[in-house]
């Protein structure tokens, strides 16, 4: 095992070299390329000052040497093992632990490492929140669809997932931000950033003026949840659907009334949509889904009523503010991965359900649930693990779009800015880091695969 890991780690080196070489070649081969001249283009300077600045950049980044030398120089700077240079750019020695230096950004004039230290955590936060969401939702829907192959839930969820998967992230982002964040419509969420300026001075946790209000909030929330679950479990279907459709209608009317300016068409459309959607929640046969969704709906309504009545001094706090900013971006980042993974889960579970061992387990009289979760599901996890490796780079690419739409200062936005401003050091470093993350993701997935499947051995 350890020899396998070491071999894989060593194989990463040529791949990483290749990645940076590809990107460097693209930059060097582009018309105009990267030279000191292109860096100071457009600045209105005296010829002499221009010349001085050019010389300065050449000195700093070595832009006057041929591309191959530039690449080797960069490589030498980045790798922890290599030559050291003196002031005059002459080789002064060879060191095994000189440390790696990602260079200085052209545009920001700051060390690339500093920039990355600021930006990477935000992107990781976004992705770390969406990954568990993707997996839990996908497994719930996928397993259910597989066990009910060919029935209503399977067919409708399959069509819905394919539809969700086809919605471009940018369309979802634009629509969400347009309707729920802009002040022309509901303005429930902030339009940009990860926290408001005031939130930086707030305490971490939210707090209220008095204990009564907290009690009230908890009380209404609990009552709402209980009512929702009760509605899902005890009330007959027809009545349930009727009640929920009425709730949807009133929600739609309320949202329409909350719009600035008259929007009759939007109100009608929204009411119809909500009647179908909320009423549909009551119609579904899937008890677990129904209970959890209606419970959530009840809790949300209860909390809304509670805050409306309480109304006292409520300080949002840093945590709640951050979460409030994260809702829309995480939603955007989650839905397509969820759709993709749930289709995959469905196929994997289906494949295993039809395998001989599952039929044997059923035939000897094991309970359906035991067969499904203890036998079939465990074996279906394998393809999910392999896919998680490809999900990671997808999430990184997705965060490029999401971060640009929601103006989040993460690595994705940095990447777009870097290529737009032709910031060579930054582009190369981001390529290196994201390549490294992807490769490590592949490695971890392979190792998990070996752990989950005893038949796999790497020797």
């Amino acid at each position: 095992m350890s020899t396998y890991v070491i071999r894989r780690l060593l194989l990463m080196i040529p791949t990483l070299l290749g990645i940076t070489l590809v990107v460097f070649t693209v930059m060097a081969a582009s018309p105009g390329g990267i030279s000191a001249q292109s860096l100071i283009e457009g600045q209105n300077l005296e010829p002499q000052a221009k010349k001085a600045l050019e010389d300065y950049y050449n000195q700093l980044y070595g832009l006057d040497s041929p591309p191959a030398v530039q690449y080797l120089r960069w490589l030498n700077n980045v790798s922890p093992v290599g030559f050291t240079f003196d002031e005059e750019r002459h080789i002064s020695g060879f060191s095994f632990w000189k440390g790696s230096d990602l260079g200085t950004s052209f545009r920001y004039g700051r060390p690339v490492l500093d920039l990355l230290e600021e930006r990477v955590p935000l992107t990781l936060l976004l992705n770390a929140l969406s990954l568990p969401l993707i997996y839990t939702l996908a497994i719930a829907v996928g397993v259910r669809a597989a066990t009910e192959r060919g029935k209503v839930f399977d067919v409708s969820s399959s069509a819905l997932m394919l539809g969700l998967w086809s919605i471009p992230t940018m369309l979802a982002g634009v629509l969400l931000i347009g309707f729920f964040a802009s002040d022309q419509y509901w303005h429930w969420f902030p339009t940009a950033g990860l926290n408001t300026r005031e939130a930086l001075d707030m305490p971490f946790l939210p707090h209220w003026g008095s204990l009564q209000e907290v009690a009230l909030l908890f009380g209404t929330g609990a009552v709402g949840t209980i009512m929702g679950i009760g509605l899902a479990l005890k009330v007959p279907r027809l009545l349930r659907v009727g009640l929920l459709a009425g709730l949807g209608l009133s929600l739609g009317l309320w949202m329409g009334a909350n719009l600035p300016g008259p929007h009759l068409g939007v109100t009608v459309l929204l009411s119809l949509l909500l009647i179908v959607a909320v009423g549909g929640l009551g119609y579904t046969d899937y008890t677990g889904l129904r209970v959890s969704l209606l419970g959530l709906l009840g809790a949300g309504l209860g909390l809304a009523v509670g805050t409306h009545w309480g109304g006292g001094e409520f300080v949002r706090g840093f945590l709640l503010d951050r979460l409030w900013h994260l809702v829309l971006p995480v939603l955007c980042l989650t839905y397509s991965g969820f759709a993709f993974l749930s289709k995959l889960t469905r196929t994997a579970v289906l494949e295993n359900l039809m395998a001989d061992y599952a039929r044997t387990a059923q035939a000897k009289g094991l309970a359906e649930k035991v067969v499904l979760w203890k036998h079939v599901f465990r074996n279906s996890l394998l393809p999910l693990i392999t896919v998680s490796a490809t999900l990671l780079p997808g999430l990184l690419a997705g965060s490029v779009i999401v971060e640009s739409i929601f103006s989040i200062e993460g690595m994705g936005k940095l990447a777009v800015e870097a290529v737009q401003t032709r910031d060579r050091e930054l582009v190369l470093s981001i390529t290196l880091i994201s390549g490294l993350l992807t490769l490590v993701g592949y490695l971890i997935a392979d190792l998990c695969y070996a752990i989950a499947d005893p038949r796999v051995s790497y020797d």
Binding site: L162, P393, A397
Partner: protein
């Protein structure tokens, strides 16, 4: 949803069988219908949305400015479309299809480039002014009487305008930030979407099949080097590589197609490699080898047709992602500059301080429907080809 498969009949090729299988599914039919509509819009775009009148009579003389302003690309596209239609009606084989289309492309391309020369400068106001002045006896416009780059500076209000808000109700999908008609731009943008999808995927397929085929056939050292190459292109997020390419080179439609093709071949190469590694061991390949057939014959005439099924499924999804890639680039402001593109229009929905819903709904809806259509077709194709699923459904 148990489907019974019609038993394979003699004289019916595998491709026809798969096509029939695909067409039994509703999703695939809907997807193909949408793609067909797009093809129609793309081919006849100048006749559907144009500020130049289709036909007019001035002082008793007939004139057709629209035909005068046709570009070589329009003419070539029309020639290709009608050749394709003719070949389809005469039930030609795939080989004559490809040959016929290829030769028409070459012929019409060179001829129209030499002879068709639209005026370099298009002034759109003149028609509206002359019509208002009553200089025309009669005039027939295209169904959408606006060109994609007709910014209508002669009109009173320019710039953003919601659809059908004005009392005249003449912009069905509204206008964009420069005052051009959104519907006209969308019709013309369908060309870019279709072209990018097909040509970029074609390039990626060719590269993937070539590299993957060689890797799978030779294995050993070629395989190891090839796999590193595949890994390199997989480990850089494709979007990021695309961004770098586009940001550092000039922006042209053809370059965009090539770049999207170059950055997305690795998946196909993986498929083909795995397929060829499997096929290599089989008897018919060994027999072909023993006969002393040349390499290209073994690779492309004997091995490839046996492994092409799953690759076509992947290609169908690939077209969707190529279209999406172009839309993302345009959305991020790195696409074509002045030419209409759905992604670039979607970008305008939130670029100004207000939210312009029609700029999000219509172009965004078009992107969604196109991607959805290709995914539906891909899904149906996979169901038709995948032998495992067939077995399980019986």
């Amino acid at each position: 949803m148990i489907r019974t498969l019609s038993p394979p009949r003699r004289g019916r090729s595998y491709a026809v069988q798969v096509a029939r299988e695909v067409l039994t599914q509703w999703g695939a039919r809907l997807g193909l219908a949408w793609i067909g509509l797009l093809v129609f819009l793309a081919v006849f775009a100048p006749f559907l949305a144009n500020s130049h009148p289709l036909l007019l009579s001035q002082d008793g003389q007939l004139d057709s400015p629209l035909v005068r302003y046709l570009t070589p690309a329009d003419v070539t596209l029309l020639a290709l479309f009608f050749t394709g239609l003719l070949l389809a009606l005469s039930r030609a084989s795939l080989r004559t299809w490809l040959g016929g289309l290829g030769s028409v492309l070459l012929l019409a391309g060179t001829l129209s480039a030499a002879w068709v020369q639209p005026p370099a400068l298009a002034i759109y106001e003149q028609y509206r002014q002359q019509e208002a002045a009553g200089e025309y006896d009669w005039v027939v416009y295209a169904p959408i009487p606006y060109s994609p780059k007709d910014y209508q500076r002669d009109r009173g209000e320019t710039g953003l305008q919601p659809p059908l808000a004005s009392p005249k109700k003449d912009h069905w999908f509204g206008t964009e930030e420069n005052g051009a008609d959104v519907l006209a731009r969308m019709v013309h943008a369908s060309r870019i979407a279709l072209g990018i999808g097909f040509i970029a995927t074609g390039i990626a397929l060719a590269l993937g099949i070539l590299i993957g085929g060689l890797m799978g056939y030779f294995s050993g050292a070629v395989d190891i080097i090839g796999m590193r190459l595949v890994e390199i292109f997989e480990a850089v997020p494709t979007l990021f590589l695309l961004l770098t390419f586009v940001a550092f080179f000039e922006r042209s439609l053809y370059l965009l197609m090539v770049i999207i093709g170059i950055t997305s071949w690795s998946g196909y190469a993986r498929y083909v490699r795995a397929e060829f590694l499997r096929l290599r061991q089989q008897d018919f390949v060994q027999a072909a080898l023993a006969c002393g057939l040349p390499l290209h014959s073994i690779l492309f005439r004997h091995m490839l047709p046996n492994g092409i099924g799953p690759i076509l499924v992947a290609a169908s999804f690939g077209v969707a992602s190529a279209i999406l890639a172009e839309a993302v680039l345009s959305f991020l402001g790195l696409g074509l500059v002045d030419d209409p593109s759905w992604g670039q229009m979607l970008n305008q929905a939130v670029r100004s301080s207000t939210f312009n819903w029609w700029m999000a709904a219509f172009p965004g809806g078009a992107i969604f429907l196109t991607v959805f259509a290709y995914n539906l077709v891909g899904e149906a194709l996979r169901d038709a080809i995948d032998p495992y699923l067939k077995k399980s459904l019986r």
